[in-house]
Amino acid sequence: MAQAQVPVTVLTGYLGAGKTTLLNRILSEQHGKKYAVIVNEFGELGIDNDLVVNADEEVFEMNNGCICCTVRGDLIRIIEGLMKRKQKFDGILVETTGLADPGPVAQTFFTDEDVKARTRLDAIVTVVDAKHFLGQLEQGNEAEEQVAFADVILLNKTDLVDPEELAEVEGRIKAINRYARIHRTQKSQVELQAILDKGAFDLDRILEFEPHFLEHGHDHDHEEEVKSLSVTADRPVDPDKFQKWMGALLQLRGQDIFRSKGILAIDGAPKRYVYQGVHMMMDAGWGTPWKEGEKRASKLVFIGRNLDGDNLKRGFEDCLK
């Protein structure tokens, strides 16, 4: 009855950033894999694949009184429909509109039981237009939020900017989300293994990868800024206290916390406890076992707006044994 969960890659990026080019690249490469592609009717045309399904970007507000809890009803229906096919897929690619908030897409994979049983959110891949990103940041929240949600970022069209401008753009991206892997590309050319089948729960790598942690401190923060930060601990975590704290935190601040991820060393448990959340919705499970003699450290990552690092740090420390 239980079958393997199909990995889902969500592609986001501002209008004209290069999503369709990337999509066609994924589909045309000789990888021997079969992908179903879910696009939206407002999206750019010209996708070359016979398994393209039109979605309507139908955002469904949950009736739990929380404005940040939204899912995509059309996505749920399409995934249920795809699962009725005899021929299964190696993966599903979801392309979102250039102006879409990736939140409802990502939350769909945490909320709907049928979707959760059959698929797993593998990664959110955001394509950034190096030439226009800074301008897009001025125009609204969309470009910023797309970067904030990303697990992987394609910093595209690098040939259209000079090295100084590119460094500035990359700096802005890292100030928003320092945990996403950044690949500099031209015409969306990237090794597919850099973006596909990343394993949403395989966070060790993402959490270890933090070379810029000290470069972008809190000194230039101002109100309304989207940023990322992490809290760490060397002592084991009390699971009950953690659940309580995280539950209350997301209930209170869920709208501003776009993504939260973590690997926890639970007191007495032989395996990593892997946690991830989108807005108020969260999911957790046991990950890989700790190795003999390995240092059991915990780390939590938050990406969002108006994050109070000291408060998060204190809250997390109260969850330790």
Binding site: M1, V52, F60, V71, G73, G81, K84, K86
Partner: protein
């Protein structure tokens, strides 16, 4: 009618059953109007036709009719064939001998929902945001709705169709006189719709683990909560006294006789342990009701005696579809793994 759950024979041996193993998920099943054939909508694009009599020889599978998965299927109310819709955007009319003709094609859309009205011979279908009604060789469009249509059903007299969608239900008059559509609003994503067998109520299942029911006459509504999962299958008893719903571990029927279900608990009976009910189908004439479960188990229940029997035929794969024959003496079921069953309940 020899269906008798009190009969000890039910507990001692299985009724005559046909089991066909395939390797594609079954999305829907239906009996033909004359009850002679049962059809299954398959995930490989095929529509599998089997004689309803389990003892009759089963023909081999025919080549696929749709590209991709067949998503919906009903008995054709105007013939002894069937109507199917697929994720290839095609709506087909299938003759009893398996020959098919295309009724409609919507490129880039999926035909996902179908309903039939036996007395008028009308068929309702939905693809994307639009509903279609096929009647007397004419195909008419209703919509587009504000969002994807997630279920269609006819009123008792066949003069209207109810279309479920995000934010509620829209009822269209399908006669020649174009009346304005009537909206029944309730927030949330409505994923299934069933008009009561007496025509007085419209019930929907929602993405948010509850059901919603509108009273047609007074335009008042009610909401029943507490389901552990979204409710995708609804079935009214033949006399409209109970609305049965999936997504509980036992048969769950809301009482609509008298003043209705407000303030009353649902009728609940049956045998727990098979996970949640995935599909429910009330008998077309009697007080019996059939349920299919996550575990693959089938149960047959009797509203009156609250007895139930387990018909454990296939194992391990969730039941995806259930259908009663028009005379109510046979039951068809399919599951997610591709096991197809036809059970002769006459003993």
């Amino acid at each position: 009618m020899k269906l008798d759950l009190a009969n000890p024979a039910w507990r001692q041996s299985l009724p005559p059953t046909r089991t066909v193993a395939t390797d594609a998920p079954a999305a829907a099943c239906a009996f033909s109007r004359d009850g002679g054939t049962v059809a299954f909508a398959m995930g490989d694009g095929g529509v599998r036709l089997l004689p309803a009599d389990p003892a009759a020889p089963a023909p081999d599978a025919a080549p696929p009719l749709h590209r991709g998965a067949v998503l919906c299927l009903i008995g054709d109310p105007t013939s002894d064939g069937f109507v199917s819709g697929g994720d290839d955007g095609r709506l087909l009319r299938i003759a009893a001998d398996g020959g098919a003709i295309e009724i409609a094609q919507q490129t880039g859309k999926w035909f996902e929902h179908l309903a039939a009205h036996r007395a008028t011979g009308a068929v309702a279908a939905s693809a994307g945001k639009t509903a279609y009604v096929l009647k007397g060789g004419e195909l008419r469009e209703f919509g587009p709705h504000q969002s994807t249509v997630a279920g269609v059903d006819f009123s008792k007299d066949g003069s209207r169709i109810a279309c479920a969608h995000y934010g509620g239900v829209t009822v269209w008059s399908i006669g020649q006189v174009a009346l304005p559509p009537r909206r029944f609003a309730w927030a949330g994503s409505h994923v299934a719709v069933r008009w009561s067998t007496d025509g007085k109520f419209i019930a929907t299942g929602t993405q948010e683990n509850d059901i919603h029911v509108w009273r047609m006459a007074q335009a008042t509504d009610m909401r029943m909560q507490g389901y552990p999962a979204k409710v995708k299958s609804l079935s009214w008893s033949a006399d409209a006294r109970f609305l049965f719903t999936s997504s509980q571990p036992v048969f769950t029927g809301w009482p609509f006789a008298g003043k209705g279900p407000e303030g009353k608990p649902p009728l609940q009976f049956g045998q727990e342990g098979a996970g949640l009910m995935t599909v429910v189908a009330a008998h077309p004439a009697t007080d019996y009701v059939a349920g299919g479960y996550e575990s693959g188990e089938l149960q047959l229940g009797d509203i009156k005696s609250k007895r139930s029997v387990v018909i454990k035929l296939a194992d391990s794969s969730p039941v995806t579809c259930l259908a009663w024959s028009p005379d109510g003496q046979k039951l068809a079921a399919g599951n997610d793994r591709g096991d197809l069953l036809v059970i002769d309940l006459r003993r």
